[in-house]
Symmetry: C3
Subunit: 425 residues, 3 copies
């Protein structure tokens, strides 16, 4: 597939999606319910080829499977294959995306090798363990959401208790949403042009005397395109104003990440998260080879966006043979965190490109800096992210051209010192 | 069904139950084992109509179902239907009762709308989370037991460790029993008059170097009666004296709860739990409409009982179209907590009528006030509660008459100030 | 089976095992995969007699079963029966061994009666609860491993966080390994002489920004022998040097443990763990009858070993009708803890004979005393333990003779005072 043809698809796709009524099923679509807790439905397996005549399936391959063994017993995975990309979604773990492979050769293009090898069932997770770092026992997906009541580092914050008092609450790393099984999962497939497919999931983050937040995600794909989108909303279904945080923790490892791999960002500003990151801020956009004993470096970026409110980031390997283009709407995701963890392969050689409502400081810090948005009762906020595979230098250069167009010759402000964090203790 | 006929049944039912040997199966009874962990039995589904000839089922409908999807994956529910009431029991969550509906029209008469929508599997619960308030992630049943090693508010208390020392223990809100799957569940149905049915459950709250407490509950129903009973025991199967606490957290929401709904209690005394409740103590027995930002008010009641040691409490809506009569033995449940939480509908508009061994202060506080009973090794204590649906003003007034008879013209002592709580820290 | 015949087997068995390539499957062996998470395999049940012609099964009985009901829902057990011993392994709980019974009469010879009656699924465990004593909610196996990142008492220790800082970590009692479902389980059975059987299990203790430790265990049995072995390795599959701890918490109750039961140890030194134990150090090797209110006594032993680096310990009942011989390699397991808990039967009448890399103090204390070994990246350490049933006084006396031979007339140093523990707080 030539680049011209692919680039031709971008506006078509955007226009088409704009016409889709988010969250509805049109008459020409086939709908398959995988999970609906309200109706007590959960399929143990599914294969689209057994449910839809091949003649109208337009090459789509969709399978649902329930994993067995070890800590993954009972975890479900759904694979969506459009003839170019093979996307593995994990509804049991909050609709995370494990990896993206190329159809046919099975080569993983998006994803990484975590020391955690199984998709750990939330039944076995204890987010409170290890001083609030328990989330790390299950961290291995390509894209996992952090949030949505809170995201970021563990630590204390204040909450309202059942007696109306305020008390200290121990926030746990990156919140709960990535470890909540989806309450609704359904596949919606269109047998009319453009033959698009949506996988819709609903994850409820609810408690009594606490937040009532609902995440609705739709993964949209078109046939034969090396691209897909997330169209998502967070809704406050409670009766009171509610804070929320979301970080799309998108993680790239080998083979995309390698020595001299590069991330290209239309950065307004780049800020090192701590002094350790500050020491290397001048090379925030390039990567080392797997390095024993490497300690994470985190950079906090404000990206520019285009006239349509979208920003573009490209990450590619040294030889420009493999890359990813990420585009998202900065109105709801104004901040970008670059997490560099070019550790030894066995420890997880990985970088996170993480659009978010804020940065991964503890919520109390984020609130101090005005980066914790709120939703009124019944209010929703929408998120839009687009991921594209870049397969050669021509595609990568074209995508970098898009970043440069947004940058428009402006020079990023590279801050030398980390921010001054108030001491709340 | 006319009230006279119903009231006629009350003493019959009481006498009949007195004759039942609690915990045994008589020769004329049919027994169906749903769960027995000792024999490694757990049915995935059950329908009485497929197991008992209709001719001798006397209209009983009993079904067991395993829920699928979201956080309820694997939770079992059992519905008991006697032709008047449709009772949904949750063995996986400690034999809680989700709701009571009217047979035929499916209208929920006992229950409430929690923001927590699914019956959360104990596998996913973390009682320790949120400073010991994790119980609130699963709180949505009509009747859930708090206890039985400890109930009430989180906070520190002392315990014996494995080295024989005493150490501080963080008690979690309302204890473990409501999040322990029952080890034994069986249905016992009598094909001779009075054709009664019992659902028996055993919940074991055990650990090494800790309490060995066994809850045995039997839900007793007769055909076509708008009433049922809980006959329960807690047994200390350990070798040492053991404290216990139990609160029957019975929660009413719409439509029974509405603006100007009323609770009628034969109260010896009424004590506000804190200053916030004290400010409204004069209206402790009436309810507001759903009120945004309402902070819970808790009242601590000592009820009078009749010559047979039973007390009666009525709760009914403003128009006296719908009500509940709760009766229980005050010898083992001498205290009653009224929890008013007339918050916005989305946040849980609900009141708890909560007979207990004590009040919901932290166990350390309860012990200070002499409200934490003990069981010697091998000793048991019995509990008896009766719930009746009241369907019109005549039934409600008759039940209020029963409360007034117990009150016998005495005037309750309404205390203006909350108790003085010792500071243990 | 006469003792001479049995003793004849010992060297044969040892030699034979030395020839086995640990972790490999030879051509003459049949292999049955029970669990392999990498291939998403987990059998729900298995019966060797349905999979192998009786003619070549040499009397082996092997069954896998998935338990139902209560807190054990979904836990798997595997029984290995060689015609003399019936060994019950629990892959879902880290390859623990629940009990050993005699074939035919079903009499339990190794095991104990914990107040915890069910094999609690790790899904329901919360190791962090009760100040880090949550492990006790599931403690009832005959042999459970403590470790392997840490073992011993709860308490604080230091760890590296994701920001490269060090922080305090709350260690939980006896670590995680006993509550991690095995990722691989397979049965390997040899249809050529000596017709031996191996049950191989792999338990992964991994996290991101944490230890990457892999336990591989093989339970080896020969037909008709009252004996079996554990051949195990722990491998550091991470990229950095890693501490580890393991204690083989092997627990004997009735009928082997009784009043005047005795443990015979080739002890170089015996040290009471605390002052309470010090008061009874002179009787560290004999046992009381079940004693209401008994507080555990723990003795820390350094055993001598023979020229082959193996030590032998015998435990037998008062009448010398029933005993166990434990042998293990002291190169990797140089320490032995004797845990005496001769409490009332209902509370758990039991003693632990616990070979380990150290003693059960908190890891911080163990590190202070130089008893926390490390593994370099990629390095492994091997463990070898042999358990034999002793069925009469002749067998017991012969085994005691073996202990005495190791002791070689030396006198153990019995220390009167517990060690001085540094205060780290």
């Amino acid at each position: 597939m030539c680049l011209g043809k692919k680039m031709f698809f971008y506006p078509i796709f955007a226009t088409f999606l704009a016409m889709v009524s988010f969250g509805t099923v049109r008459s020409e679509e086939k709908r398959f319910v995988f999970t609906n807790s309200g109706d007590s439905i959960q399929l143990d397996s599914f294969d689209l080829s057994e449910n839809l005549p091949v003649a109208i399936s337009n090459g789509w391959q969709v399978r649902l499977k329930t994993l067995r063994g070890g800590t993954q017993e009972g975890v479900q995975v759904i694979t969506l294959d459009n003839g170019e990309l093979h996307v593995t979604v994990v509804p049991t773990r909050g609709m995370s995306i494990l990896s993206v492979e190329q159809t046919g050769n099975g080569k993983r293009v998006f994803g990484w090798d975590s020391p955690v090898k199984e998709l750990v069932h939330p039944n076995l997770m204890d987010l409170e363990s290890r001083g609030g770092l328990g989330w790390l026992f299950g961290f291995n997906e390509w894209m996992t959401r952090c949030g949505i009541e809170f995201a970021g580092h563990p630590g204390t914050d204040v909450m309202r208790t059942n007696t109306g008092d305020t008390n200290e609450l121990n926030l746990t790393l990156h919140g709960r949403v990535g470890n909540i099984p989806a309450s609704e999962v359904e596949l919606i497939i269109n047998d009319q042009p453009p033959y698009d497919l949506r996988l819709r999931g609903v994850v409820e983050e609810r408690m009594f005397y606490g937040p009532q937040l609902r995440l609705v995600t739709e993964i949209h794909m078109l046939p034969k395109l090396k691209q897909f989108r997330l169209l998502e909303t967070i809704e406050n279904v409670g009766a009171s104003k509610q804070e929320y945080q979301i970080i799309y923790h998108t993680n790239f490892g080998s083979p995309l990440l390698d020595e001299n791999a590069k991330v290209v960002i239309p950065a307004k500003s780049v800020l090192p998260m701590n002094q350790h990151a500050a020491d290397s801020v001048s090379s925030y956009d390039t990567y080392l080879r797997p390095t024993q004993g490497f300690v994470e470096q985190v950079y906090l970026v404000e990206p520019w966006s285009d006239d349509g409110g979208m920003t573009s980031v490209v990450i590619h390997n040294a030889e420009k043979e493999l890359g990813a283009l990420m585009r998202w709407s900065t109105s709801s995701l104004p901040y970008l965190t670059i997490w560099k963890n070019t550790a030894a392969l066995a420890d997880g050689y990985v970088t996170g490109i993480e659009p978010g409502t804020g940065y991964p400081f503890n919520r109390r810090v984020e609130r101090h800096f005005g980066r914790v948005p709120q939703l009124a009762a019944g209010e929703s906020v929408a998120f839009e992210l687009e991921y594209s595979l870049l397969s050669d230098s021509r595609e990568i250069n074209a995508a970098i051209g898009g970043v440069n167009k947004i940058m428009a010759g402006r020079v990023p402000e590279i801050k030398k010192d980390p921010p001054s964090i108030p001491d709340f203790d």
